[in-house]
Amino acid sequence: MADTAAEQRVRAHPAIRLSGISKSFGAVRANRDIDLTVRKSSIHGIVGENGAGKSTLMSILYGFYQADSGTIEVDGKQVSIPHSQAAIDLGIGMVHQHFMLVHNFTVLENIMLGAEGAALLSGGMARARAELKRIEKDYQLEVDPDALTEDLPVGLQQRVEILKALYRGADILILDEPTGVLTPTEADHLFRILQRLREEGKTVILITHKLREIMAVTDTVSVMRQGQIVDTEPTAQTSVEAIAEKMVGRRVLLRVDKKPPRPGPVKLSVRDLTVVDSRKVPMVKNVSLDVRAGEIVGIAGVAGNGQSHLIETIAGIRRPTQGTVEMNGKTLDYDRLDPASLREEGMAHVPEDRHRMGLVLAFEENENAILGYHNSAAFGNGPFLSISAMREHARERIEQYDIRPPDCRLKTANFSGGNQQKIVLAREMERDPDVLLIGQPTRGVDVGAIEFIHRRIVEMRDAGKAILLVSVELDEIRALSDRILVMFDGKIVGERGAEATEGELGLLMAGVTDAESDRPAAPDLSMIDTTPGQAPAETQIPGERP
């Protein structure tokens, strides 16, 4: 594209220039003296661990919070952004990680909300419909304006969020962790949309913790650590390893080192398992699988395709509608067994959502460290708990699992996500189970802790445990599993070895089964693999999800 004089004048000012931005929440300094310049018509990535201050910074830019100090310039003019409406007026739009959509509104109603035009809806609605058509055509973002939002798949809901911002005339679009809920194919599609927006002159700020996305789609990348920007570089001149090191502040081993598996006898055997949820909708359909001693079987799939129901049913939390589960060759009678007796039989379960099922956040650490095992003679006498035994036990675990801060009397809510997860893992692993069910082991966990948790899981495998792993992070599944099963719509649609590529798993996750993908017209997934600076396939950071 030839630079005309007009374009050069437009480019003279950066889209956004932040200078000396600081923000504290009580004693926590979320942002410290941040300088950031975002060039016009570029895609600028911001990476950092959980709690590095990315979201706070963007919330300041979108008027959710006020900075304690510092200045904001938009298009070369110094501005103040006291509320979201001011940000919208300045042409800043934001796509939040948790979509800000009203579930029972139509797409059109969601897009109009806050920009209705007049007190009566009818006129504004016609105008919005026409304007939406134009935007859809310009950016190739088709959505049925009359569809009910909750009926749309998440990829389309996200598109509605983008349309919302564009409808309000956004020139600068902030996307906060946009790919957490998307399949790899949907993520690729999003990246194409972002590139299209850049071509049309929009500026995009992409917040993510997934380094491959940064490499695949951004022009410039800024790394945040502990509330500061530690580096800003053109993406083409950096590498995944370099960014990861800057994020964590030390060298990280991105690859999970593991020896080839030595599978033993079948420890867990599931046959024709069907699970129906409370609305009588079948969530797991005729699933059969085996897990052998000394192997990790990973279940990949987009969230909500039955993985949660499967693992919870095996753990005895839900009742199976049909089918059997055998452990150590014995059929488990779920009418008789509850999760507590299953634990005694040698099954441990790390639940997917530690806040909902794994921990009581208001308890002290040492109390959570024995939950589920609190009837054990080791921790008490009859109806009484032995506080000293509990604390002694907790101190040992804290040391073994490097739980920080090392204080067994601290309220569990005050530990970081990674350390909370370690509390759960320590509890479930140290009881020497035969079968270990692990759901989302590193959701909302920092890179450093991920490394530790992955090593522990592999150690358990090498110690001859049968491990069934459920994760929505495809990278994590690929890094840890010896065999990969893909679930879609409650069924297992394919099995792959550890060497399976992201592309082929992505297709399975989208429900394209083996029979169908043999046909020639497979979707084009080449984009992500051909981007310059792309990391080698085995290098990956499975991620946090705050």
Binding site: F25, L101, H103, F105, E109, A119, L120
Partner: protein, 322 residues
């Protein structure tokens, strides 16, 4: 049952469902905005007292109405302050206001009027009473249609007409105006409203004010239209029945009207059936008939309508997340 008896029952159905309808629509505005309101009962009671006292002191029904609405709106604002600004528990706040209303009306009534908590009996010109237009008598000569129109449509108190006009009006506000779109949004996902640059707080306060005003009309109707003054605890659980009707109707205006008509009909039938002889069963005990609306409420809510899904953000104070 003959034709005229049926007409009479339907006529009193309209009158008995009026306070339910006003209160249920009041609750609809509040709950659609995400503020649960178990305090409909208390607001109605306070408004009934204010209206009764106001009408008797000033001698004007309209002054009574104004006072009733004013007091009810103040109650609504207290509930709003507790649940929007102070982010308190909405059920606790609502229940507390019900107790305040139950206690304060009797206490003040006794202190001011010395009639055991009642307000003085009002004369007819101090009340909202229906009057039949001149052509009503002529209409009655037309067979069937004439008597239906004159009995059911004409001759009600002004407040009855207000209640039933509020139904299409509420529908129109909710689904055809900007305010309605935002009101529905803030009850489902206040964060969506906030990020769209609209104040959640202002919207919700508007909703509780409307709720207070409608409860005020409902209470006024009880005290100075249906009765000739305020009586101790004269709402007698109507606020709760209205709440039940609201849930039964899944927070939609037109179904709310039918739910209220159903409860009103049961009430009317109960009065009519007292002492009546039914075939096979014989004489039905009065207590059974009186309990019928409540029994039906439980049955309807427990099994008949399936899952009623309330507005998603209902009952939850909005806090900007970090």
């Amino acid at each position: 049952m003959d034709f005229n008896a049926t007409l009479l029952i339907l006529d009193s159905t309209l009158r008995l469902s009026t306070p339910l309808l006003l209160a249920a629509l009041a609750g609809l505005y509040s709950e659609r905005a995400g503020i649960f309101d178990i305090g409909l009962e208390g607001k109605m009671l306070a408004a009934a007292f204010a209206a009764g006292a106001g009408a008797s002191v000033t001698g004007s029904a309209y002054a009574g109405l104004l006072l009733g609405v004013l007091v009810s709106v103040i109650f609504g604002l207290v509930h709003g302050f507790a649940s929007i600004t102070a982010r308190g528990n909405q059920i606790v706040s609502g229940v507390a206001l019900n107790f305040v209303a139950a206690g304060a009306t009797v206490l003040l009534g006794q202190a001011w009027f010395r009639q055991g908590g009642r307000t003085p009996q009002l004369s007819t010109d101090q009340r909202f009473l229906g009057s039949e237009p001149n052509f009503a008598a002529e209409l009655r000569d037309i067979p069937i249609v004439g008597s239906i129109v004159s009995e059911l449509v004409l001759g009600h108190s002004l407040l009855v007409y207000i209640a039933f006009i509020m139904v299409p009006l509420t529908w129109w506000v909710l689904f055809r105006t900007r305010f309605g779109l935002r009101l529905r949004a803030v009850g489902e996902n206040p964060a969506a409203v906030d990020t769209a640059g609209i104040s959640v707080t202002v919207l919700r306060y508007k909703a509780v004010i409307i709720c207070g005003a409608l409860c005020g009309v409902a209470g006024t109707y009880l005290a100075i239209s249906q009765s000739g003054g305020f009586n101790n605890n004269m709402t007698a659980g109507k606020g709760y029945i209205a709440l039940a009707a609201l849930i039964f109707a899944k927070w939609k205006p037109v179904p709310v009207m039918f739910a209220c008509l159903l409860f009103g009909f049961l009430d009317a039938a109960a009065i009519r059936l007292q002492g009546a002889e039914l075939p096979v069963i014989g004489r039905v005990p009065v207590q059974f008939i009186q309990a019928l609306p409540y029994v039906l409420t439980v049955v309807l809510l427990a099994g008949f309508i399936g899952r009623a899904e309330p507005p998603r953000a209902g009952g939850v104070p909005y806090v900007k997340e970090r």
